[in-house]
Amino acid sequence: MTVPLLEIQDVSAFYGNIQALKGVSLDVNRGEIVTLIGANGAGKSTLMMTVFGSPRARDGEILFEGKPITQLSTHAIARLRIAQSPEGRRIFQRMTVLENLQMGASVDGSAHFEEDLARVTQLFPRLRERLTQRGGTLSGGEQQMLAIARALMSRPKLTLGELNRQGMTIFLVEQNAFHALKLAHRAYVMVNGVITMSGSGRELLARPEIRQAYLEGGRH
């Protein structure tokens, strides 16, 4: 069996004295879309950030392509081509669209910049029209496009966040459980910092407890 792209082994993480992750294990294979669902505050975003070492895992090990990255600094982890498209978009408001995309490419250097720029502006023609505009002047939807485009500029091997695109490995953290489960090859359910269930997206969609907790009466 091949090594998973990302392996999270029994990881615990803390914010101050509060334990946000309690021995979480999870893995993501190449070319797979894996989703993590759970209520607000269950620890989904924390897990995503722990992959980047912030907060750092206190126990357990995180492996990327079979190599431990638990102790690496955030930027060094990003340079392994793990991209993140965070929930709040977090684009650089006072930099132009082009500069935001250049920031996304800083991992990759300038070798493929023109090519990648052409690729993402083809994907989001709206951004091409706005290359010299400041990020902060874009509409909410355009900022979301920019956040995704910026993540793509680094030619990521693994993308964490609210993304969906074929042919890439994506580790999806989602509040909208219905969408996430439909998209994903595999899914994990997280409750209070613990993984309580896992399986294929289809399987989880069929489970009555999932339907009850996350789908019916919840957000679709």
Partner: protein, 304 residues
């Protein structure tokens, strides 16, 4: 009229030096939100480094190659001062990053005291003087009278303008500049995109120290005298300039520096010299009442 133009020249000269120092305050504040109170002392240290290097070089080269000596002092001084800037950040500030907000500030005050005492110990408490250099003057007729522009004033303004041009290019168009601006806006996101935040902060301190180093050399050249306590008043003035212009804003720091230089000079020229600092700080207070974020600063509240 000629008197006015003369004061304008003097004010712009002084303001250029303040502006160069102010940039160091404003850049560091922009990127890590900290007032580097030791920056004025880095400037003072730079003036001493410039003086020592200059005297050494004059011994070696003889009185022949003044221009060459100054260029070497400029470059070597920048290198040595930026080394100090780097070490200070490494030792006194970086270990405190992520600690409570006041910690690095207190550490900076400590570093400032350390630097001035260190220089007092190794160089002695007395003023150090330098024979006047570049004191040839150009005389222009203005109105009925005439205005003099000393060579050194010209050098100060030209060097300042050139450095600002280089700095503007670096911040605007290089990957270092982009990384600095990204860190300034969202340090966490910048690191998620692979920016080495610590390195970027280090480089910011180094750039600030380099500019302070040039300011120190120009100060030394202009006034011909420096003392261990010279970090304080020019430092506070430059900090005031940064606040006046809007702390965090590079054009603001330059504008603030020029304004403080002009206010001080014009006040001394038309009123009493004893109150020149009062005038400068009063104008700061008045501006901040009406524009709390300074002339070119961004208001704190941002649209989300």
């Amino acid at each position: 009229m000629d008197y006015f133009v003369q004061q304008l020249i003097n004010g712009l000269t002084l303001g250029s030096i303040y502006g160069l120092i102010a940039i160091g305050y404003t850049m560091v504040y922009g990127i890590i939100g900290m007032v580097n109170f030791a920056h004025g002392d880095v400037f003072m240290l730079a003036a001493f480094i410039a003086l020592i290097l200059f005297l050494l070089l004059m011994q070696v080269l003889g009185g022949l190659a003044l221009g060459l000596a100054l260029v070497i002092v400029l470059l070597l001084g920048m290198a040595l001062t930026s080394l100090w800037g780097w070490v200070i950040e490494r030792l006194a500030y970086r270990p405190l990053r992520g600690s409570f907000r006041l910690a690095p500030l207190i550490s900076a005050i400590g570093m400032s005291i350390f630097l001035s005492n260190f220089v007092q110990l190794v160089q002695g408490p007395r003023n150090k003087t330098l024979e006047p250099i570049l004191s040839n003057v150009l005389v222009f007729p203005v109105g009925e009278g005439s205005v003099t522009l000393a060579e050194k004033q010209l050098v100060i303004m030209v060097v300042t303008a050139a450095l600002l041009g280089v700095l503007w290019y670096v911040v605007r168009y290089t990957s270092l500049g982009r990384a600095q601006r990204a860190c300034e806006q969202d340090r966490k996101m910048a690191s998620l995109l692979g920016v080495d935040v610590d390195r970027t902060v280090s480089l910011t301190f180094i750039i600030g120290a380099m500019l302070a180093s040039v300011a120190g050399l120009l100060w030394m050249m202009y006034y011909g005298v420096v003392s261990f306590s010279d970090g304080f008043v020019p430092g506070v003035k430059a900090f005031t300039a940064a606040v006046l212009g809007g702390i965090g804003s590079l054009p603001g720091a330059v504008l603030g520096g020029l304004l403080i230089g002009l206010i001080e000079t014009f006040w001394s020229a038309y009123f009493t010299i004893d109150y020149k600092d009062v005038a400068a700080f009063s104008i700061l207070a008045i501006v901040l009442i009406f524009l709390p974020s300074g002339l070119l600063g961004r208001p704190d509240v941002e649209k989300v």
